[in-house]
């Protein structure tokens, strides 16, 4: 884990002091709400329907067990005993008082946590592959480069008042578990033919009103040029991104209107004008960061698998969980375990303070004190010895954290929706809860196979509905909540934007519609064909027919 040195710490302390002063000025009336708003937003503080919401940054989704304990402490001290893990690998607290927010941030700072740039038109928290450092398929640890970007983008004097928010995602693995092409900048770490480390750079992806899969603008950016290149992209965007219309202000619109070639050549020209010396990250510094992420040497254990199999034979329940909630680790004998925050009928991404404390303890016992947050709103224990899986599973089950549904129909992504969010048009959480209950039968979930259902309560698409195999978008139709259905999106591994199937549904209708889509798939799929493959083969037609025929 990256641990702040005294320099990082002083900077964070200065931020806490600055924010305390900003809140004081607001409470004393020295700042108007309009003036205070961008300042509080850059500290992750939103004014929502019922109270202030605070979004705490979890850089690249990586937490130490002590940081998890602090998040639990915050939930019970400043909130109502729970927190909500988000699709940006952050955590949100929904019931915060403005007057105590500075104390909360001070508490967080004691353990290197903060809410810096978790909102506002600035460079947001960098997200990354939640399996970084543990996955068998990785070229390099995405956290190292994410941390370098975090430092460069923190309090950036030039890029803190951009036309609109700006999101980075980084993966160091072949499989994209960070949805990098749905970000303003997506980086994939690769090696050139000569073995040099570098990046594929994707710019101008995003969801919201205009969903776009980011085009590749640089097929090999040498790692040494990373910050210099990012600086060039951001400057072109800051100077030329639209500011007249909030819906056209993201970099994706600029890239689209200029065209990829023209945008890229402007970036290249700006890159050439920049002095490399200003952006160099020395080998010592890269090594300093890398060392902090390295874990103790893990002894490969080739035999444990067989012993585990024996144990699993005795428990079909355990087998199911092991099949869906564990993933190959780079060291034989170890596993990456996903803790499901999607209990049947629960609120996706929510965790109670008790659960967070318990997860921190399990991380210490079984995972070298590390926890990760996924953008699909689950948690990960990245380094678990397979000999410990049975005990871990039993403990998680006791905590209601062992639902064996990762990647399946009830592993639903949902934004907070109209239950909390002032931007929402419709509720998301109750819809996800009803779908989850409808498909609660584990046997049938495993039979259906990998399926991403994603729900957003408005077109801002925080629930990533564009990228769901089945996407649901809440809209307001003459004062009534309606739900549009999209099919064919992809956000895991591949990236694709789903298409609307037909007219929308009401609250009951959308749950039935999802069931109809799934039963259609089950009846038309070929043997071994996944939902996304069937859809690609058949198109919308058979689904549309079954959905709208009876009407």
């Amino acid at each position: 884990m990256y641990v702040y040195d005294t320099i990082d710490k002083s900077l964070l302390n200065q931020r806490v002091a600055e924010f305390r002063d900003q809140v004081r000025r607001r409470l004393d009336g020295e700042l108007t709400e309009d003036q205070f708003k961008p300042l509080r937003l850059m500290n992750g503080l939103y004014l929502q329907l019922h109270a202030y919401m605070l979004r705490v940054a979890i850089p690249y989704g990586a937490l130490s067990s002590d940081q998890m304990r602090k998040l639990a402490y915050i939930a019970e001290t400043y909130d109502r005993g729970y927190g909500h893990f988000t699709t940006r690998q952050n955590i949100q607290y929904n019931w915060i008082e403005l007057s105590t927010a500075p104390d909360l941030l001070f508490d967080l700072s004691e353990i290197d946590l903060h809410a810096i740039q978790t909102s506002g038109n600035c460079i947001r928290n960098v997200t990354a592959d939640p399996y970084a450092g543990a996955a068998a398929d990785e070229v390099d640890d995405a956290r190292v480069w994410s941390e370098i970007i975090r430092q460069w983008s923190t309090f950036h004097p030039e890029f803190s008042y951009l036309p609109r928010k700006f999101k980075f995602a980084v993966t160091g693995a072949d499989a994209d578990r960070a949805a990098i092409k749905f970000h303003d900048i997506g980086l994939k770490i690769i090696r050139s033919d000569t073995g040099e480390l570098g990046f594929e750079v994707y710019v101008g992806g995003g969801q919201g009103r205009t969903p776009i899969v980011a085009p590749l603008i640089n097929s090999f950016l040498p790692a040494k040029d990373l910050l210099r290149y990012l600086d060039a992209v951001l400057r072109i965007y800051n100077l030329h991104g639209r500011r007249d219309n909030i819906y056209k202000a993201r970099i994706k619109i600029l890239v689209k209107s200029l065209g990829v070639d023209s945008f890229t050549s402007q970036v290249d020209a700006e890159f050439e004008r920049l002095d490399p010396a200003l952006f160099v990250v020395e080998a010592d510094e890269i090594n300093r960061i890398r060392d902090m992420f390295s874990v103790p040497y893990l002894q490969a254990d080739e035999d444990v698998k067989a012993r585990l199999e024996e144990r699993i034979e005795e428990s079909p329940q355990m087998r199911r969980w092991s099949d869906s909630n564990t993933h190959a680790h780079k060291t034989p004998g170890y596993a990456i375990v996903t803790i499901s925050l999607k209990p049947i009928g629960g609120i996706p991404g929510d965790a109670t303070a008790e659960q967070m404390y318990a997860i921190a303890d399990l991380a210490d016992r079984f995972s070298l004190g590390e926890v990760r947050v996924t953008y699909t709103q689950n948690l990960v224990l990245p380094h678990v010895h397979q000999a410990d899986l049975f005990v871990l599973w039993s403990e998680l089950k006791r905590l209601d954290l062992a639902t064996p549904n990762i990647g399946l129909a009830t592993d639903i992504i949902a934004c907070p929706g109209l239950d909390y969010c002032s931007l929402a048009n419709a509720r998301s959480i109750p819809i996800s809860q009803r779908i989850s209950e409808r498909f609660s039968d584990l046997e049938s979930q495993h039979d259906i196979g990998p399926l991403d259902i994603r729900i957003s309560g408005c077109i801002n698409a925080c629930g990533h509905h564009h990228a769901g195999h089945i996407g649901i978008l809440g809209v307001d139709k003459r004062g009534e909540e309606r739900y549009q259905l999209t099919l064919g999106g992809q956000g895991n591994g591949e990236s694709a934007v789903g298409k609307i199937v037909g007219p929308g549904f009401d609250e009951d209708g959308i749950v039935d519609a999802v069931e109809t889509v799934i039963s259609t798939y089950l009846s038309v799929r070929s043997t071994g064909e996944l939902f996304s493959q069937t859809l690609e083969r058949t198109g919308h037609a058979p689904f549309k027919e079954r959905l709208y025929d009876s009407n």
Partner: protein
């Protein structure tokens, strides 16, 4: 009107706002609009240009007077709205691309909390909006003593340098 430098000290106001050159008899220590400066720029030698300032809105393109930019005495970049961050980037490019070493001034709708960022992007003076106490700008300029990024100013220490010297101390 209060103008401060990036150390938060008041600066004597010698510059007069005249907008268009025709409004004044002497083109000494005046700030012109970009349109007016462009109109007269070919008739001005380097010395007179150094006594002239120009005010740029976010829609003005300084590249149009690229050859003369570095001789101008003062360049004033106007923030139309504190949320519009273009002048931050313009400041960086004016210093870098045109070798401008004169007074780079920020004016318009600015929050005190942006003062240090202004300094770090190369601005040398700030016109304090009337609704804010000058004191608040001074506080903001001193809110941080270190920064992660390299920048053109020396208001803060760079993390990179601090880490390097920490390593050297350990090595000794």
């Amino acid at each position: 009107m209060t103008v401060i430098n990036i150390r938060g000290e008041n600066v004597d106001q010698t510059w007069r706002d005249v907008e268009v050159a025709e409004k004044t008899r002497s083109l000494d220590s005046v700030i012109l609009s970009f349109a007016s400066l462009k109109e007269h720029i070919e008739t001005l030698d380097q010395k007179s240009l150094s006594r002239i300032g120009v005010r740029l809105t976010v829609n003005d393109e300084i590249g149009e007077i690229a050859d003369h930019a570095r001789h101008i005495g003062l360049i004033d970049l106007v923030f139309p709205n504190f949320k519009d961050g273009r002048p931050f980037s313009t400041a960086v490019t004016v210093r870098r691309d045109y070798g401008f070493s004169g007074d780079l001034r920020a004016s318009g709708d600015i929050l005190p909390d942006q003062a240090l960022f202004l300094a770090r992007c190369g601005f040398s003076t700030i016109v304090v909006p009337v609704q804010f106490p000058v004191k608040q700008f001074k506080t903001s300029l001193g809110a941080y003593t270190i920064a992660y990024q390299a920048a053109v100013d020396s208001n803060v220490s760079q993390v990179r340098d601090l880490r390097r010297s920490a390593v050297e101390v350990v090595a000794e």
